[in-house]
Amino acid sequence: MTGARHRVVVTGLGVVTSIGTGVDAFAAGLRAGRSGAKPITAFDTTGFAYSNACEITDFDPEAWITEQSPDDLGRAAQFAVAASRMAVADAGLTEEQVRGVRSLVSVGTTDGESRDLDHLTGLQVTSGDDVLDAVVARRVWPGRLSAGIVRELGLEDVETVTVPTACAAGNYAVGYGYDAISSGDVEMALCGGADALCRKTFTGFYRLGTIAPDVCRPFDADRQGILTGEGAGILLMESLESALARGARIYAEVLGYGLSCDASHPVAPDRDSIARCITAAHRNAGIEAADVDFISAHGTGTKANDVTEVGAIRQVFGDELPRTVSIKSMIGHTMGAASALASAACALALRDGFIPPTVNHRTTDPECAVDCVPNEAVAADLKVVQNNGLAFGGNNAVLVLGRWDTAPVPTVA
């Protein structure tokens, strides 16, 4: 089958983020180094010494969800459905065209609809079991993140997957789409990730001592942790033949991806495992480390992540590190959406020739010394970019994207 594999390209992007909804607003936000950080309004933060997050305060589900009641979907699924609609339109496709081909919908997530679980648990504690809302209880099932998209677009010849591999889930979902298209199983795929701000996750990270009091400063000597975030990123992917046949605009080619799962510790990242994942991605993409023009890091801004991740990058790249940035400095840690939104950022960077900045940066930590493109985006002629997604439990996924017109032909791993 090795000769029959298809090249896979990204032709549509849909994004919902705290620095902008829709691809143009997101791209402008990335270029400008905008920050989504603000005090949390999603839930009561009484008792926490500090409580900033990158919350989305202007999302209107009814603008995007028309074929089902928005109330039948939790906030994460609403983001995912909205982003999918945007991705289809951005690709210059009608929904009928997507319905007409065999497709895949894969959505990664960390928390599913935990925000609804927060709500139901709160009701249960204050008022008992009798007052629980059946509509809310029904929409908690994380399968609705992908099923909601399928229902909204009326897809029938479709595989529907929700990928629960936490903070690397977006890359897992995109990687799965790459496999499905390159092998010829499907013609198009809507892949990415979604998560909504929730009290459970904020509290958990706060308790681990990993929430920053003010802003997220990846690779900075004074970094104090993450800000939780929310949103969705969905990539419309198709085979190169399909894109060329319909004269589609191509953002980027998906060259390949790598996975590693070490399960060595619940929360501590493992350097060797991350290095293994990066190497697997390069091999799958048919590139050498020296081909990578910049790395979109997982870059959470915690003490442990940034040192371990840069150590792993150094292990693979040696002393010549490409520029290594973290868009979490702008949009926070959007959990299951994080690597999907970062993939979208990489695709935009390739198309438009710029590297998004790492904002809030003051002094680079010598323990994780990288050129993180501090505070201001730079113009760059890019051919190959690498997007890291690392998750609790040692679930890692690294994606490699290339500018399609100059990208090397992918080899089969």
């Binding site: 001592g209 929360v267 501590a268």
Partner: protein
Amino acid sequence: MTTQIPALDETEQGQIKDIVCDILELELDEVTDTSLFKEEHDADSLRTIEILASLERTFGITLKQSELSRMVNLAGVYAVVAEAKAQ
């Protein structure tokens, strides 16, 4: 200048020991004041954070994460809690 920190009474020490044994899933007689949580009782960093959180709730105190490095055994926890209560 040194400040005298009042020692915990037996009831408080007992409460702490109950919390630690509950979270580390140990019998009360398996733990001594100096037996090490990590090396001798298989505690990991998440369990020790759970202990910290439970102590904060039980005693109405706030403990800095940096105190975790001293909370390696019961004696260490007694000292950290006594200091926090004195503040």
